[in-house]
């Protein structure tokens, strides 16, 4: 009877101890997983932060390039520069110093109807040649 009670005590103690051990193990695993998860998140955070920093640097660099370009554009569009390039390199001169030559085109003094057919044809060719000459002159 005494031996039986001793065995039952042992039987009773063993499952409780196992349960405690299991609980500790579970908690340890849980804490370990949480720690690892936290560390993982922290690593991810650092990685993202670094990427953001790089992005910010890129933005800053582009902003600097933009400022430089704006400065260049303002210099290039400066009226003084435009004027000097136009006059020195492209030959712009003031209106007053431009001479316009106009050539008067002679008009036929006789009426076409009063002329014979052959002469009329000849005058037509003359008029046509004048037109061509005018157009050629216009292209100059």
């Amino acid at each position: 009877m005494r031996a039986m009670s001793a065995t039952s005590k042992v039987r009773k103690k063993t499952p409780r101890k196992n349960r405690v051990h299991s609980a500790f193990a579970a908690i340890a695993v849980l804490v370990g997983m949480m720690t690892m998860g936290l560390a993982g998140l922290r690593l991810l955070n650092m990685n993202l932060e670094q990427r953001l920093t790089r992005l910010n640097e890129t933005i800053e660099n582009y902003q600097e390039i933009e400022l430089d370009l704006k400065n260049n554009m303002a210099s290039l569009l400066s009226p003084a520069r435009v004027y000097s390039v136009a006059s020195a390199k492209m030959g712009m001169v003031s209106e007053a110093s431009v001479t316009v030559v106009s050539v008067a085109v002679p008009k036929p003094s006789v009426s076409m109807a009063s002329l014979p057919v052959k002469a009329r044809k000849g005058l037509g060719e003359l008029a046509l040649s004048m037109i061509f000459r005018k157009e050629a002159h216009a292209q100059d």
Binding site: E64, L67, K70, P79, Y83
Partner: protein, 552 residues
Amino acid sequence: MFRVFKDVWTWLFLVIVILAARLAVIQLWPDPRTVSQASSQYWTQVSISTSRGVIRDNRGAALAMSVPATSLFIDPQYWDPANAPELKAVLKNLVSASDLAKFSKPMKGRFVWVARKISPDLAARLLSKKLDGLYALKERKRVYPQGPLLAQVLGFCDIDDEGLAGLEQSWQDILYSPPQAKILARDASGQGIDLMSLQRAPKTMKPGELVLTIDPILQMVVEKRLKEATDEYKPKWAAAVCLDPRDGAVLASASWPTFDPNKRHTLKNPLVRLNNVIGRVYEPGSTLKPVIMSIAKEQGLVRENEYFHCGGRIKVADGVVTDIKAHGGQHLADLVVNSCNVGMAQIGIRFRPRFSYDNLKQWGFSSLSGIELPGEEEGLVSTPEQWRGVVPANIAIGQGIGMTPLQLITALSAVINGGRCVRPYIVKEAKDGEGKIVYRGGEFVKNVVISKKTSDWVRTVMRRVVTEGTGKAANSPKVSVGGKTGTAQVAEHGKYVKGRFVASFVGFWPVENPDHIWLVVLGEPSQKGHLGGAIAAPAFRAMLEDYLVLAQ
């Protein structure tokens, strides 16, 4: 119980517990000295200059802006003095001989400037050599993309971007953005790494912006032609200013001698920093006659059909007023058309001192015009007690009274715009960092000094000055111009000096409804003439004709 202390694991456990506790104490409640030392070792705070606001002309182009620049400094703790010649080899003139000597020896402290605000490319060339202890900071540099254009009006800044002159100084509150402090981590070599730019970057104040009334094409034309006139006539100083007489907007303002705010060495001469348009007081001479004539006509001191005689000189009390020649019989309008001193002196002596003094004050003389620029002079008008003897006659011919070119052109604007004395303005609008408009320049009528009828009459008289009088050289077939010439004597120590003159011409167009009034002043020309009609009027015409072509 004590059996556990015989176990080595127990002792190991206790040691670990003590160490952990101590670690916790050190980490959680560190010694302030340790914190300070660690901070200085691992973190560094640098001051970063931020952009100043942009100044734009009335077409939106930037006249002043900030661009990226790099500054180099040495941390003596990491610096090897043997590397000093490398600095000189790349930076050349930016490192002086004394600087080179300094960098060649061991230095104290943790921060020594090498070069401020150099081009990023040049800095990159030096940094690529990876010299220990040499570091770079990103900064902003103030630049003026259009070079010397509008230099005295824009002003300039010091190396730390604080405005020192011109609009840069007077609009400092709008344009300036305080430097930003940046915290960098240091790596093993002491190089700063920007890890804090995300969450902990302080919120910076954005700078504002100024938009001016300046027409860039007109400004360019005026400066170019003024420079040509100064090259030809070699004056001591010169100025040109253009206004819209209807509302007082300053369309162009040029002063000579001038400087390039991008080149600091051009600032050495103090004369170049003086804005002659607002800071130079001079006796205007005959260009004041339209104002005097307007006052006399408005006060009823003269009649339109009145007849004067000019014999070439007239004695007035204790003095004599002379003319370039005897004009003979002159109608009232002819006094202005032919710039007759003798006739104008006769009008001057009719002035009642107290009333006329107050009247001149109403025209804006001897008081600040109110333009948004620093360094403006008030000018000088004799007090009524001093209006004795020849003084009123002198004032009537534009002598014995001091004013700035801006005051004169403002008064002449009133002559031609119907009598409204408007306050000149050069800032069209000012915006704060958020883009909100905090100031808007515009028409502000200070006084109505003459009637429209008087104004119309004087305007037609001034048209005759250009068509048949002393200002023929300013006439242009392209547009109807009115104007007035001026050749004033220069006083020194209370006496007019022989051979020293100020030549000027004021012109406006179109005569029927003027929207431009320009004043050209050449102070003490030393060659090829001295008369306003001979040297200032042609400069005006050149400006006008250039502008009419280029503005299209």
